[in-house]
């Protein structure tokens, strides 16, 4: 299997699907000729032309609004939002329209598209090139939300997302766009939505993470291992609807949980996971579930590494939870 980084794997997935399914179109700011500011769509313009790889005017609302129209027509648009921080001008089209289209039309008009967008910190982007807005979309019924942590998953989950009948927000952790490398199956290859990945089995503490923070969770778990704490690390992969079975099975085994995410703590996905665990495994809990997250502040520039829930902040949470 070839080695790829995440950018290459996503590019590979797009190319495969655009060759296979002529309804797939890519649109967004700078996605065409230059191949995106992160070069994820590089080469697609040359292969598929201006009608299928489309540089748009600078308007996220226009991108998503027209993509919905394209989807209603029968195309399968894969719009890119340059940074997930810039998705908010399109928020109305996403939450009021895209998320509700199938439901509000009694099933007559499903609107299927996949919004790709780089997410999270780690590139010194400050307030507006670093945020993780997944919870703002999960709370809204009707959207699936995905965030891969490895090149293979990025490819397989993106192909699954494009073929899924529902609208998907596909968050790409930009911190590991090039840093995460690995073997990626050639050709067609799907990783099913809704299935978490137990990256490291263990018995003492369940650590739940996704995207770039998975590596921090693994690093902290390894360090905890040196103190005799054997963590089970779960990569959520699909953030919504999440793989409740894998989570609950693990918690029933360990009785202890740490959830990690970059987004601010309050009303984040971490809180939802903790609450679901309460509902489904209360009597198994031997320690209060802990959340290690971004702080409830805007995302900072200089102190980025203090803000992020990196290994040095996850480790004490694991240890505390294990020793509770």
């Amino acid at each position: 299997m070839p080695q790829m980084n995440m950018v290459q794997a996503i590019n590979d997935a797009l190319r495969i699907e655009m060759r296979r399914d002529h309804r797939v179109v890519v649109l967004g700011e700078d996605v065409g000729k230059v191949g995106g500011v992160f070069r994820v769509t590089q080469g697609l313009y040359d292969e598929f032309g201006d009608d299928r790889v489309i540089d748009t005017p600078l308007s996220e609302g226009g991108i998503i609004g027209t993509a919905i129209g394209m989807a209603l027509y029968g195309l399968v648009p894969v719009p890119e939002i340059q940074f997930s921080d810039f998705i908010f001008p399109a928020y109305d089209q996403i939450v009021s329209e895209l998320a509700k289209y199938r439901y509000r039309s009694g099933g007559e008009y499903p609107a299927k598209l996949v919004i790709r967008t780089p997410v999270g910190g780690g590139i010194r982007g400050g307030h507006y090139h670093s945020q993780s807005p997944e919870a703002q979309f999960i709370h809204v019924a009707g959207l699936k939300v995905v965030c891969p942590a490895s090149p293979a998953d990025a490819k397989g989950l993106l192909l699954a997302s494009i073929r899924d009948p529902d609208p998907v927000l596909f968050f790409e952790p930009k911190r590991i766009y090039r840093a995460a490398k690995g073997e990626v199956p050639e050709g067609d290859f799907v990783v099913p939505l809704g299935k978490a990945n137990v990256v490291k089995p263990g018995v003492h503490v369940t650590v739940i993470a996704w995207g770039a923070m998975l590596y921090e969770a693994l690093e902290a778990s390894n360090q905890a291992g040196k103190q005799g704490i054997d963590c089970e690390v779960i990569d959520l992969r699909t953030l919504w609807p999440l793989d409740i079975d894998t989570i609950i099975a693990s918690v029933k085994k360990t009785g202890r949980v740490v959830v990690v995410h970059e987004a601010p703590k309050s009303c984040g996905l971490g809180g939802e996971i903790v609450s679901l665990i309460n509902e489904k495994a209360f009597l198994h809990l031997e320690a209060p579930p802990k959340r290690v997250t971004g702080f409830d502040t805007p995302f900072p520039y200089t102190l980025e590494n203090e803000y992020l829930p990196l290994a040095h902040r996850i480790l004490p949470a694991i240890v505390e939870t294990a020793r509770y």
Binding site: V25, D51, R52, T56, P57, S59, G61, G62, G65, T66, A67, I68, G69, M70, L72, Y73, G74, L75, P89, D92, Q93, S96, E97, K100, Y101, R102, Y103, R104, S105, G106, G107, E108, Y109, P110, A141, G142, K144, D164, P165, D166, G194, P241, I244
Partner: protein
């Protein structure tokens, strides 16, 4: 040389004085002679003849068909308001005074063309073949409602007639229409898309996005602005300082055209021209149809609070139904008997549809959870089970 691009003096809005909204006399109400001044396409002259320059050359049957549909739409409007007042339906938003604009434009579209509606265009849906029962079932939100009782009344769909999904947020359909048309263009299918919206909607983000994208990508979209003078209580002169809505197209390289929206002939002509442009690959057109909202905004609105009733008189004199009726009476032999017969027939149809709708059960509990996604994920399955087994809300014990 002056490089100042001045817009022309205002013709469409406040009848007198200068454009200084913040200081303007807010009680000023748009009069038709101001609104219809300037470069406005009109076909049906006051003397009852048609201006050959803008004659869409409709057949006798077409004209009578359109007239009859206008009458049906108005009667339906009237009955729905009554049903709401009686508490039998929850809400209605009608098209009183705007029938010519709505029916003329929908009529001008070809069979393969599509409509992306706002919320006042049930007449257009009927024109595209939507059964009356389907519409009335939506007004009651019952189990036969095409949207399964999930949205408010007047939020139906009719895909078979190429009629899109209605949502309440103002303007969103404009951008979607542009995207739909653009997709057709990419696929080299000769279809055009008609998008309806009000004067208020021109202030929305989506007006800007829809027109800009359609302009850049030459999407075969017809942006049809029903300028009915009001956005709930806000008059057009508070909506924009541009002289007309049509000229907003300049900002997007999209040609704009103004048409007498109470003149069904002119509306058909202007829309057909736009369809022809689109079909020739020349891209989108923005049509401003000058009309007037003769009713309140909806059954929830009391217009007396902001609009003295007598200010409507000059617009009532331009009532599109009355104008068309004069034409069919003068030229096509329509008469009171025919009118009465039509009204009786429609009355009976509505009564039957209402009776059927009222007899129909409510949507099932399970329908609450369907269609959020293509199939039911675990969390909705759990929530469905909870609702199935749990005690019922009062008044919903039946299903």
């Amino acid at each position: 040389m002056t490089a100042l691009l001045q817009s022309e003096s205002r013709t469409s809005h406040a009848p007198v004085g200068e454009n200084n909204a913040n200081d303007a006399d807010r009680s000023a109400v748009r009069r038709p002679d101001d609104a219809l001044a300037g470069d406005v396409i009109r076909t049906l002259r006051h003397d009852g003849t048609l201006d050959p320059a803008h004659d869409p050359k409709l057949t006798r049957d077409e004209i009578l068909g359109l007239y009859k549909l206008m009458v049906r739409v108005r009667i339906l409007d009237d009955r729905l308001v009554a049903l709401q007042r009686q508490g039998r339906i929850g809400f209605h938003i009608g098209s009183l005074g705007e029938e010519a604009a709505i029916l003329g434009s929908a009529f001008a579209m070809r069979e393969n063309d599509w409509i992306f509606p706002c919320y006042r265009e049930f007449g257009a849906a009927l024109l595209r073949g939507m059964p009356l029962q389907r519409y009335v079932d939506n007004m009651f939100g019952n189990a036969n409602d095409p949207v399964k009782g999930r949205q408010m009344p007047d939020h139906y769909t009719y895909k078979k007639g190429h009629f899109g999904s209605i949502s309440s947020p103002i303007g969103t359909q404009i951008t979607q229409a542009a995207g739909f048309a653009w997709a057709a263009k990419i696929k080299k299918e000769d279809i055009a898309v008609l998008s309806y919206f009000g004067d208020g909607a021109t202030s929305s983000n989506d007006f800007h996005n829809g027109l800009n994208f359609a302009g850049v990508f030459r999407a075969p979209t017809i942006f049809f602005c029903r300028n009915n003078g009001w956005a709930i209580s806000v008059p057009t002169e508070r909506q924009t300082a541009s002289a007309t809505f049509a000229e907003k197209g300049i900002a997007y390289g999209v040609p704009g055209v103004r048409v007498d929206g109470n003149d069904i002939f002119a509306v058909v002509k202007a829309t057909r021209d736009a369809v022809a442009r689109a079909s020739r690959g020349e891209g989108p057109t923005l049509i401003e149809a000058l009309t007037y909202r003769l009713s309140g905004h909806s059954t929830s609105d009391d217009p007396k609070a902001y609009r003295p009733d007598n200010t409507l008189d000059p617009w009532r004199a331009l009532d599109p139904l009355a104008r068309t009726r004069r034409y069919v009476e003068q030229h096509l032999g329509w008469n009171d008997d025919a009118q009465r017969a039509l009204e009786t027939e429609m009355d009976a149809e509505i009564k039957a549809a209402v009776a059927a709708a009222e007899k129909t059960e409510l949507p099932s509990l399970d329908s609450l959870f369907e269609d959020v996604f293509a199939s039911l994920p675990w969390h909705l399955e759990e929530q469905r089970e909870e609702l199935r087994k749990g005690p019922r809300a009062k008044g919903h014990g039946a299903h």
